[in-house]
C-alpha cells in the first residue's frame, strides 16, 4: 500500500498524469472549492472520501480509516467501486494521510446525530457545526464500528456515484448522445446505439471538468453488483507472507530502540534512579528519567530491556499505594449506598413509577452484579517510532486516531500541526487501545532527548500494567413481576457512564422503569474497550432478564420474544436463532443453552451458547450460534469474521479476563496470568446474517457484549448456578454438578 504525501493531494484537480480525482479540489483557505458541489451548494460540507482514476484505468480509493483487521479497506473500496461500476479487478486503495482535511466528519456526525435525517433547510447549518466539531476534536478515529456505517454510507458511495455521473456526462458531451442511452460497466462506458465505448481513464480528463452533481443518485439494493458479495480481502496476501508492516516493524535509517517502565502505581513519580550507564552494559546509549517513568535507549530492544531490568528505580508514594481490588469494590458499594441514600443518582431513563410498581408486584427479583477491570491485550504490544529533528516530528505507529496523534505531538513539542507527520501503519489489534496517544507522547518525550529516530517498544508486562482499562463496576438491579409473570417494574442503578449513551437502555417492554447511575472517583485509567459501555450493559441486562424469565417460569427465549413485540427486527433475529441453535432440542446432563440479544452500533446480535460443565467444574463452550441483523452486510464473509472475532474476544473476558489491583498497581503482567482464549478453548461458531434492509450497522463490536451473558445463562441452564460476578473462573462450579446415573 502506497502512502500519499501531503503535497501529492492538496490542490490537485486533475493530476499531471491526467487522472480524475474526485473530491480533491481541496485547497487551504478555499473552502467552497473543497465542497466540490457534492453534498451542499456552498459552505461547510466537506467530502472526505476520494478516488482517482489513473491512465491505465485503475481506480484508487483513498480510505480515511486504519486497517486493524476489520477488512475496512476492502469493504469501503467495494462501496465506492459498486456505485462507480468500476472493474473490481482494477481497484486499488491507499490509506489517507493524517491531515485535517481528512477529519472524519461523517463519523462524528453519525455518532452525534445517529442516522437521523434533517430538514433540508437545516442541513448546511448542521453540517457546518459538525465540521467544526470534528476539526476541533481531530477526529479521524476508526472505532465505534463506524467505518461502514458513516464513512461508507455517507462518503464512499456518494463519491463513487458522483464520479460515475461525471464520467457519464463527459461521455454524453463527447459523443453528443443522450446520457440516458449510456451504460456504465466495469470501468467502461458504452453507447450501444452508436457502438461507441470508452474507458473511464479515457473519459477522466473531460469528466474532471464536469460539475459534480449535488445529489448523485445512489443505487438501490437490487442494483448492487459488489456490495453483498465477498471478494477476497485486499490486505490478506501480505499478512501470510510476513511482508505486512505493522508499527512494530518500522525500520528507519539510523534508528535506535527504547523501552520503558512507568510507575507501577498510576500517577506516581520517580523518586530516584541512577541514570549513569554501567561500563559492563552492552549497547546502552541513554537512561532517561521521565518523571513518571524511566526509559532506556539502546542499540536494540533486548539491550534496552536488560538495562531497564537492572535499574533500581524508586518511586514516590501516593495515596493509592495500599489500595487493593477489594478496597475498590468496597468503595464502589459505599458510593452506591451513599448516592441511593442521598438520592443523588443521575437519571439515565425513567418511565412510569417504578417504586410503586415494585411495591405492588407479586414477585420481586433483586441482584447485584460485579464486573472486573479488563485490559485490551492487543496482539502487538504498544510501540511508536518517533524522530524529532529541525523543529519537526515524524511518527510511525499504528493508530486508530492518526489526527489525535498529530495533535498530541504538536502540543507536546509546542510546534504547529504542519510540522508533524504521521505515517500510519497496520495495527496488530486495536480494540480501542490504539485510539489513545499515551504511548506516542512517551515516544516523543524520549526522542526529543536525542537526534536520531527512536522506536519505543513496550514489553508485554508494561502493556498489561499500563493500559487504559474497561472499568470494574458493580450494578444493582431490581424488577417486579405480576401474577402471570409479566414484568411490571424495572430498576437499575449502575456506576459510570461513558458511551454510547444508550448502552444501559432496556430493550424490553416494561412499563415502569427507573435507570440511574453515579460516577465514583477511580484512580485506574479508563479507556474504550471493544463495544465500550455495551460490554458492561450487555452482561447486566441480559443476565438479569434471564433471572426474570426464570422467576416467571418462562422459557428465556420465549420470554424475550414476548417483551419485544414492538421490535420486528428483534422478533426475526429471535425466531431465526431459535431454529438455528436447535433451541428446543434436549441436551445431555450438565450441558446447557443460554441466549442473549442486544442492539449496539446499529446492529442486532443474538447468540446462543452451548456449554458443558464437567465434574471438575470446568466450563467448556462447545458451540455458539450467532444471528445478526446488521441491516445489510456489505461484505458478508468479512462481517462473519468480525462476529467470530468479537465472540472470542468477549469470551476470553468472560471466562478468565480480570485485571486486579494490588498495592495500588496492576497485579497481572503477561498471558500466563491474564489468560485469553486459545484454540482448544474456542467454540465452534456458526453465524447467520439477516439483511433486513435497515441502514448498515457496525460489525467490529456488536458480537462482543452478548457472549458473556449467553455463556453464564447457559451455565445456569446446565447447573442452576447464576453467575453474577465475572470472570466465570471465579465461581467454583464443582458443587453444582448434577449426578448422572
Amino acid at each position: 500500500m502506497k502512502k500519499w504525501t501531503r503535497r501529492a493531494f492538496i490542490g490537485t484537480g486533475i493530476l499531471a498524469s491526467g487522472a480524475l480525482v474526485i473530491g480533491v479540489a481541496i485547497r487551504p483557505g478555499n473552502r467552497s472549492s473543497k465542497v466540490a458541489g457534492l453534498i451542499a451548494e456552498e459552505g461547510e460540507t466537506v467530502m472526505n472520501i476520494w478516488l482517482k482514476i489513473s491512465p491505465d484505468n485503475t481506480v484508487t480509493v483513498i480510505i480515511p480509516h486504519a486497517e486493524m483487521g476489520q477488512g475496512v479497506h476492502t469493504t469501503l473500496a467495494m462501496m465506492l467501486a459498486d456505485e462507480l461500476d468500476a472493474d473490481w479487478s482494477k481497484v486499488k486503495f491507499m490509506e489517507a494521510p493524517a491531515d485535517k482535511e481528512y477529519a472524519n466528519y461523517v463519523v462524528a456526525k453519525g455518532f452525534i446525530a445517529g442516522n437521523k435525517t434533517f430538514p433540508k433547510f437545516l442541513e448546511e447549518t448542521i453540517d457546518g457545526v459538525f465540521l467544526t466539531a470534528v476539526k476541533t476534536m481531530n477526529f479521524q478515529i476508526t472505532g465505534g464500528s463506524a467505518s461502514v456505517r458513516f464513512t461508507g454510507q455517507q462518503g464512499m458511495r456518494i463519491a463513487g456515484a458522483a464520479a460515475k455521473a461525471m464520467l457519464l456526462q463527459a461521455a454524453a458531451d463527447t459523443w453528443k448522445v443522450p446520457i440516458e442511452e449510456l451504460k456504465a460497466k466495469k470501468s467502461t462506458i458504452s453507447h450501444p446505439a452508436s457502438n461507441q465505448t470508452a474507458t473511464y481513464a479515457e473519459l477522466a480528463p473531460a469528466a474532471a471538468k464536469v460539475k459534480a452533481p449535488k445529489q448523485p443518485k445512489l443505487k438501490t439494493r437490487d442494483e448492487f453488483t459488489l456490495m453483498g458479495t465477498s471478494p477476497a480481502r485486499l490486505d490478506i496476501p501480505a499478512k501470510v507472507s510476513g511482508q505486512a508492516k505493522f508499527g512494530m516493524d518500522m525500520i528507519v535509517p539510523n534508528m535506535k530502540y527504547a523501552t520503558i517502565k512507568a510507575a507501577p502505581v498510576f500517577g506516581a513519580k520517580v523518586k530516584s534512579v541512577d541514570t549513569s550507564i554501567p561500563s559492563d552494559s552492552e549497547g546502552v546509549l541513554k537512561v532517561l528519567n521521565l518523571e513518571n517513568a524511566v526509559a532506556v535507549i539502546a542499540q536494540g530492544y533486548w539491550q534496552a530491556k536488560s538495562m531497564l531490568d537492572r535499574l533500581a528505580i524508586k518511586f514516590e508514594s501516593t495515596e493509592n499505594d495500599g489500595k487493593s481490588q477489594e478496597d475498590i469494590f468496597n468503595g464502589y458499594r459505599l458510593a452506591m449506598d451513599k448516592a441511593l441514600e442521598e438520592a443523588s443518582l443521575s437519571e439515565h431513563y425513567q418511565s412510569g413509577d417504578a417504586h410503586s410498581a415494585l411495591s405492588g408486584a407479586e414477585t420481586v427479583v433483586e441482584a447485584e452484579y460485579q464486573l472486573p477491570f479488563l485490559a485490551h491485550a492487543t496482539m502487538e504490544p504498544m510501540n511508536c517510532t518517533a524522530w524529532v529533528h529541525d523543529g519537526k516530528c515524524e511518527i510511525w505507529c499504528g493508530s486508530q486516531n492518526p489526527l489525535g496523534v498529530m495533535a498530541a505531538v504538536a502540543e507536546l513539542l509546542d510546534i504547529s500541526l504542519d510540522q508533524v507527520t504521521v505515517h500510519n501503519q497496520l495495527l496488530g489489534g486495536g480494540f480501542g487501545r490504539r485510539s489513545e496517544t499515551d504511548v506516542i507522547r512517551q515516544a516523543v518525550a524520549i526522542a526529543k532527548e536525542v537526534d536520531f529516530p527512536v522506536k519505543l517498544i513496550w514489553s508485554r508486562e508494561e502493556d498489561t500494567q499500563h493500559d487504559l482499562y474497561r472499568e470494574a463496576t458493580i450494578s444493582r438491579m431490581k424488577a417486579g413481576l405480576d401474577q402471570s409473570g409479566n414484568p411490571v417494574a424495572y430498576s437499575h442503578q449502575f456506576l459510570f457512564k461513558h458511551h454510547p449513551p444508550e448502552a444501559a437502555d432496556l430493550p424490553y417492554a416494561v412499563p415502569n422503569q427507573l435507570i440511574q447511575f453515579t460516577s465514583p472517583s477511580s484512580f485506574v485509567p479508563w479507556g474504550n474497550w471493544r463495544s465500550v459501555d455495551h460490554s458492561v450493559h450487555g452482561f447486566l441486562t441480559e443476565s438479569f432478564i434471564d433471572e426474570l424469565a426464570f422467576a416467571a417460569k418462562k422459557d428465556p427465549l420465549a420470554f424475550r420474544k414476548s417483551l419485544t413485540q414492538d421490535k420486528p427486527r428483534f422478533q426475526k433475529v429471535l425466531d431465526l436463532i431459535q431454529e438455528k441453535s436447535d433451541w428446543d432440542s434436549p441436551l445431555p446432563a450438565n450441558w446447557g443453552r443460554g441466549i442473549a440479544i442486544a442492539q449496539s452500533f446499529g446492529s442486532i446480535v443474538a447468540e446462543v451458547a452451548e456449554v458443558e460443565v464437567n465434574v471438575e467444574g470446568k466450563v467448556k463452550v462447545h458451540r455458539v450460534v450467532c444471528v445478526a441483523d446488521p441491516g445489510f452486510a456489505i461484505h458478508p464473509d468479512g462481517f462473519t469474521a468480525q462476529m467470530e472475532s468479537g465472540i472470542i474476544y468477549g469470551l476470553a473476558a468472560a471466562m478468565t479476563g480480570e485485571i486486579t489491583i494490588e498495592n495500588g498497581a496492576v497485579a497481572q503482567s503477561n498471558f500466563h496470568d491474564y489468560q485469553v482464549t486459545r484454540m482448544n478453548e474456542a467454540p465452534k461458531i456458526e453465524t447467520h446474517i439477516i439483511n433486513s434492509g435497515n441502514p448498515p450497522g457496525g460489525a467490529g463490536e456488536p458480537s462482543t457484549p452478548v457472549i458473556a451473558p449467553a455463556v453464564t445463562n447457559a451455565i445456569f441452564n446446565a447447573t442452576g448456578v447464576r453467575i453474577r460476578r465475572l470472570p466465570i473462573s471465579k465461581t467454583d462450579l464443582r458443587v453444582s454438578i448434577r449426578q448422572t446415573t
Partner: protein, 162 residues
Amino acid sequence: MINLTINGKEYSVEAPAGMPLLWVIREQCELTGTKFGCGIAQCGACTVHVDGKPIRSCITPATSVEGKKITTIEGIAPDENTLHIVQQAWIEEQTPQCGYCQSGQIMSAVALLNENPAPSDEEIEQAMSGNICRCGMYGRIKSAIKRASAALQASTSNPQLR
C-alpha cells in the same frame, strides 16, 4: 560475532550474550515477519523453525542455534512467485484479521503438517494451542490447516514441505 543461517542465507551479527534469536532476526537481520508478542513463550507470535522444529525465538538464545538451519515466515515459500501450501490455504480461508499473530500461526501449522500430514481436530488443537490469536480467528486457522492437509493428500507431486 554470531553466525546464523536463516532461510538459507548466512548472517554474521554482533549480539550480546543471551540475546534471544527473535531480536537478532528482527533487528539485525531486518526480517520483521517474525513477531514479538509476549517474550515469555506464551503466545507463539515469534515461532520460527530450527532444523524443521518449531521453537519460540523469544526465549531461545541466538548463540544456541549457531550452525543450525533457521527458517522464518519469509523463507517457507518454495520460490518468490509461489506460496507455501499452508499460506495458500490461509488466503483461501481468508484467515488473517489484523494479521499480527499469523506468521507464528503459519509456522506452527507448517511444522505440524510436516510431522503429521493428516492431523485430527484434537491434534490440530494440541499443536496450535500455544499460538494466541487475539482476533479470535481459531475457526479459520483450523479450517485452513485442514484445507492445506487435504491439498497435501490430494497431490503427491507437491514439493516436499520444509
